[in-house]
């Protein structure tokens, strides 16, 4: 039972991460492999605030969102002037940069040693320590994120995002300030991704740079693509499948030392296979063909 709850919490975190990336990559067509950076920013901001100032969740999570959004703005403003595949390269470079900073800025992040002992959060007087209470917190934040994303993607604003994905130049010729939309959507996606990071930091109570690598970024974009980019339910389905699938490997009795690698091989191979046979994923709308 505990094991099942743990898996559900993980799925919730990945739904937040991949759905927020879906807004950037699936709806707007900006393929980013820097999403683990914003995931990391969320986790580190919450962890550092909780450890150093003992501030409550209600302050930490919004601070993380704000900080991730600001970094998203600083990075997005120059990067989003760069188009297509070159934008992917820029996000890749940013992801590597984030990882080096986390690993080498030892006075702040303690580098590879990580930040242990992140205190358990309190919300409205309740101490969130049991698995069930964490599940409730995850469900609440996940629902909030999805609600925001649903509202956006089903609004006139969301329609413009899809227009930009389909034809950027034409979108300009019908009066849309394309670069502003791109930046706003990148900032928003970055902010929402940090919620996933906050949850992760509180839940595991220990973070280190190894959770926020390029591999993690590729994993998040794989969830979006395999689930179905540009469709609201796509990343939700993707997160459920891709988080659960490797758990089946446990029953094969793989040694723990290689389980993580086998899991990654599995989704890497899935990504290749989907690109060859079904680039729109299970239920996607965007086929990466323009």
């Amino acid at each position: 039972m505990e094991y099942l709850l743990h898996i559900i919490i993980l799925i919730g975190i990945y739904i937040i991460l991949s759905s927020s990336l879906n807004l950037i990559a699936g709806y707007t067509g900006l393929i980013s492999i820097a999403h683990a950076s914003f995931y990391a920013i969320g986790a580190y901001v919450v962890a550092l605030m909780a450890l150093k100032f003992n501030t409550p969740l209600i302050l930490n999570v919004p601070s993380a969102i704000l900080f991730a959004a600001i970094i998203g703005f600083i990075i997005g403003t120059p990067s989003l002037r760069i188009h297509g595949d070159y934008f992917v390269i820029v996000t890749f470079a940013f992801q590597i940069l984030t990882f080096t900073v986390l690993k080498n800025w030892i006075s702040l992040t303690r580098g590879a040693l990580g930040l242990p002992g992140i205190p358990q959060p309190k919300l409205l007087g309740f101490e969130i320590s049991s698995l069930t209470s964490f599940l409730a917190l995850t469900a609440a934040l996940c629902a909030l994120t999805l609600l925001i994303l649903y509202r956006i993607t089903h609004s006139p604003y969301g329609r413009i995002l899809e227009a930009i994905r389909e034809d950027e130049v034409f979108s300009q010729s019908i009066g849309k300030n394309v670069s502003r939309y791109k930046i706003s959507v990148f900032v928003l996606g970055a902010g929402l991704a940090s919620i996933g990071g906050s949850l992760y930091a509180y839940y595991i109570s220990f973070i280190d740079p190894s959770s926020f690598t390029v591999m993690e970024s590729i994993f998040i974009i794989s969830i979006v693509i395999i689930g179905g980019a540009g469709r609201f339910a796509g990343p939700i389905l993707g997160a459920i499948v891709l988080v659960m699938l490797p758990e089946l490997l446990r029953f094969l009795g793989l040694p723990a030392s290689i389980a993580a690698n086998v899991r990654q091989i599995l989704y890497g191979a899935l990504l290749v296979a989907f690109m060859i046979w079904r680039p729109q994923g299970f239920i996607g709308k965007y086929t990466f063909n323009n």
Binding site: I31, I33, P78, S79, R81, I82, G84, D85, Y86, V88, I89, V90, F92, A93, F94, I96, L97, T100, V101, K103, N104, W105, T213, V214, M215, I218, I221, S222, I225, S257, I258, N261, V262, Q264, I265, Y267, G268, A269, L270, L271, V272, M275, I276, P279, F288, N289, N290
Partner: protein, 286 residues
Amino acid sequence: MTQIIVNSLIAASIYTLVGIGFSLIYNTGRFFHFAHAATFTLGAYFIYTFNLLLHIPLILSAIFSILGCGILGMIMDKTIFSTLRNRGASALIMLLASLGLYVVLQNSISVIYGDHIKSIRVGEITEGIPILGARITEIQSITVMTSILILMVIRLILKKTNIGISLRAVANNPILAQISGIDSNKVILFSFFAGSAFAGLAGILVSMDIDMTPSMGMAPFMMAVVAVIIGGISSISGIALGAIFLAFVQNLGILFVSSQWQDAIAFGMLIIFLIIRPQGFLGRRI
């Protein structure tokens, strides 16, 4: 100061080797080949296998490893990328497939060899040969000379040989090349072979200098891509120039900020060049 120049040259040599391979594949296959980073790593693990596990002499192991990487590149093209090309897949789809392939390869290395550091350095760590007040180890000087040699050879191949001329034709104008009877699939296959072999070679050289881990390919790959973009993706001499420029700025930067910000310097240069001069120093407009 001489040490900065020497260190820059060593780094630039690696960036150039990886960068030439990357741009060969990009200019003919027309996509960003991320799995190139894993090919680099495989070069190191191949020579580890041949030399330390199978006890084949070092030089022979190196040749086997380089060929192994080249053949692996051809297999990648034959199994995945030519299939995608024939379906008219976009560059973005190929890029994502290459990204997936990178994940598969790097983690396969982890599964087979483990995540801890492996070494094929022979003998104890030497201080290096002093040159004009700087120090350079034997393998480092081999690295620099190899990359200069490869640079000259590849230029010669592109200018004088049939395959080189076909390669340039496909890179410049694929449609025209096809009309004049050039089999572009063959040319792309050759680019994968040569490009991957160069990456493998670079991997071998780095592993003999500073050991190996399964994720060792990522950073040099990233730097090579930045060098390629700075220099101009379509120009071989541009790549070398871009590599030297990047390596020099990075090494000079260490004088002022601590070395963890080297990546930040590269990232900044990447953005600046993509916005201000996307064609690089010597390349055509992209």
